[in-house]
Amino acid sequence: MEVLRLQQQLIELTNSLFQEGFLDDQFTQLQMLQDANNPDFIQEVVTLFAEDSERILAELTKTLETEPIDFKRIDAYVHQFKGSSSSIGAQRVKAVCVDFRAYAETENREGCCQALQQIKQEFFLIKSKLEALLQLEQQILAAGGSLPVME
């Protein structure tokens, strides 16, 4: 019963992540890459994504506080962020990156500051959602269940 309940929770959480646009099809592709040869693939990708994103956010914050603002540097960091969010399927983060780069290109300081706040918010949201998802998967496996196949 416990396993069934957890599996149901996992399905609901996963569905909501797609419906609310947090994740796109790329995340499904990643799930398909996880198999017996590579059982912790998603966990690894999520961990790297979180570490790199936090480092980039700290750099962006610092760069935007340093006069004169180095917009080229900002663009380079956001390019990194866009790449990794796109690789993991975090499409809301990716969407903010697109706006952010446009602000960096036009050297729009106000726009960049707003985009930074927005990207922080989106990043911490998706990070906690992905952690919740992975934790549910762990709980299901620990309880002897198997992971539901998502369509």
């Binding site: 590579n38 693939f41 990708v45 790297l48 790449g83 690789s87 697109v98």
Partner: protein, 154 residues
Amino acid sequence: MENVDGDESQPGREETGNLQNLLCGKKILVVDDNRVNRIVAAGALKKYGAHVECADSGKAAIAKLEPPHTFDACFMDIQMPEMDGFEATCNIRKLEEIAKESGKIWHVPILAMTADVIQATYDECVWCKMDGYVSQPIEEEQLYKAVSQVLSRT
């Protein structure tokens, strides 16, 4: 490429099988400064049985692809700091020219990886003697098209 739509992405079974035939047992180098992109690209290629090695810069790629080596192909990110993928490829081609003088022909297929299609126009790839390109993250149908052109001959 921002308008990746999720609907047409159910990969064709045929392509999966063909990619398996083309990539299984092949030694592939993935070059990207972004480690999330690197692990995802490597994962996508390993799925078809390729042996994947990674490099995190253009310079590291040159060191691995200076003849002689045993790689069958290389996937190279275009936009990297210090040395971009175009410049790294040009350098690798120069080393292959030098190797040719000692009698053996080398040409490792290099496929560009890029997030923006505009950025890696076909012309630019040709100019640097790249062999094709795929968008990142790698999508199966496009991967098949690119890989079948460079690996079917081996």
